[in-house]
């Protein structure tokens, strides 16, 4: 009888090991994109964590959307100045900090310009150059005054936190999933990836989309928990007019899509909000300036740059790829 009890115990233990590796995945449509959330652990914990994540995403959508007239950002854009929640104030502060850090290569004040290009409403077209010049003269992150939770923007300007909102949302989602008792999760908010804790059985494997869409992936990163991998590329969203391709990453200096020699920039950092802003900023900067920027701020992030010639990776990243990978060196 004891033998049977021992066998049953062994069996239960083995079954228990299986349960540890169980995962639950949920697809959520929010922030104008599709999101995939995967939580590992016992079904009771994963279910409630995913519920909490979904609720958090719809809360953030209401708070930060530029297209929802009821959002706090819309209120600021309508009246030029408004009191916002502490959270929105802090996020605007992060956006302005990222703008200063990148000398304006990331700029959250291009709302009217994105609107003129029709990127929000799916009515994409090339705007009149005169209109664009007028709108551009009203933009500039230096013209946003933030005092705690009180925001004032310059005349003719509109805030658009789209360049950091998903990175911030990724941080929030993983935080609420952790609070709900899940200690291992991976999420992708429209391609903005975040990890929580250790994946059962190895590092998280995060693929980088091939900008040419020829290969399956350009490479696969091995990431620990608590990291964000956020990519910007011209291939994500674009339209064609009169035989020319126009993509959605605007150069704050010109108001036109950035003429970058980069096909894509992937930023890896423990700060999701910053990673999101930097992916846009470094794309706008182009290869040489991006490498120089990383040289000066290698404590903040790692990156993968893809150009027409190849793939360039900073030394601390672990990546597998069928391509020739050049490891970047920080300037002395």
């Amino acid at each position: 009888m004891k033998r049977i009890a021992a066998l049953l115990l062994l069996f239960a233990t083995l079954a228990g090991c299986g349960a540890q590796n169980e995962s639950e995945t949920r697809t959520v449509f929010a922030m104008d994109t599709v999101m995939t959330l995967t939580a590992y652990g016992a079904p009771s914990a994963t279910g409630s964590a995913l519920d909490a994540a979904e609720a958090e995403l719809s809360r953030l959508d209401r708070l930060l959307s530029v297209t929802d007239s009821g959002s706090e950002i819309s209120a600021v854009n309508r009246s030029g100045s408004a009191a916002v929640s502490e959270e929105t104030g802090a996020l605007i502060a992060s956006a302005l900090e990222a703008s200063r850090l990148t000398a304006g290569a990331y700029d959250p004040t291009l709302g009217r310009i994105s609107e003129a290009w029709g990127f929000h409403a799916d009515t994409q077209h090339v705007p009149d150059p005169g209109l664009l010049a007028d709108l551009l003269s009203a933009c500039g992150y230096e013209r946003v005054a933030l005092d705690g939770a009180s925001v004032e923007i310059g005349d003719g300007m509109a805030l658009d936190l789209g360049g950091i909102a998903k990175g911030y949302a990724a941080e929030r989602v993983l935080s609420v999933m952790g609070d709900a008792g899940v200690d291992s999760a991976v999420i992708s908010l429209g391609g903005n990836v975040g990890t929580l804790g250790q994946k059962p059985g190895g590092p998280w494997r995060v693929a980088i989309e091939d900008p040419d869409r020829g290969d399956e992936y350009a490479g696969i990163l091995a990431l620990p928990g608590g990291m964000y991998a956020i990519t910007s590329g011209a291939y994500e969203r674009f339209f064609e007019e009169d035989g020319r391709i126009y993509h959605h990453i605007l150069d704050p200096k010109t108001g036109f899509p950035a003429e970058s020699d980069l096909q894509s920039v992937t930023i890896v950092s423990s700060d999701g909000t910053l990673a999101d802003a930097l992916s846009t900023a470094l794309f706008v900067m182009g290869f040489d300036a991006a490498v120089e920027f990383w040289s000066n701020h290698s404590d903040l992030f790692q990156m993968v740059l893809i150009t027409a010639d190849g793939m360039y990776v900073t030394p601390e990243l672990e990546i597998e790829s069928g391509r020739d990978v050049t490891v970047l060196e920080a300037a002395p």
Partner: protein, 119 residues
């Protein structure tokens, strides 16, 4: 002490069960899973040629074609046609998304090489 016969039978059954559990083919074969508005509606094996129309959110629909071990969207009634222009997918984790129709096609299979794709 020799095991009693019924103990031996139980032992045998348990060992057999463990063997089946351990040796059962882990990879059910690559397939494309179709979800509409977050709910998985169908799963089609990639090794069986299929043409199927999928009703999506907002009255949009698309035609999924599975052939030569990959899946692609042959036709979509949505305005942006991003899904229709997407190249065929065949590796575990690859996705084609039609946002207006809220349809997500995902290649599944135990050999899933990746946990997420950054794009």
């Amino acid at each position: 002490m020799r095991p009693r016969r019924w103990e031996a039978v139980i032992l045998g059954v348990v060992i057999l069960a463990l063997l089946i559990w351990a040796l059962w083919p882990g990879d059910p074969g690559a397939a494309v899973s179709v979800s509409v508005n977050g709910q998985v509606t169908e799963v089609y094996p990639l090794d069986q040629p299929t043409i199927v129309s999928i009703d999506g959110y907002g009255g949009f629909l698309l035609t999924l074609v599975v052939s030569d071990g990959s899946a692609h969207v042959e036709y979509a009634s949505c305005p942006d046609l991003i899904c229709q222009h997407h190249r065929p997918i065949s590796s575990a984790g690859e996705q084609i998304v039609c946002l207006p129709a809220r349809i997500v096609l995902t290649v599944t299979g135990k050999e899933a090489g990746v946990d997420a794709v950054t794009r």
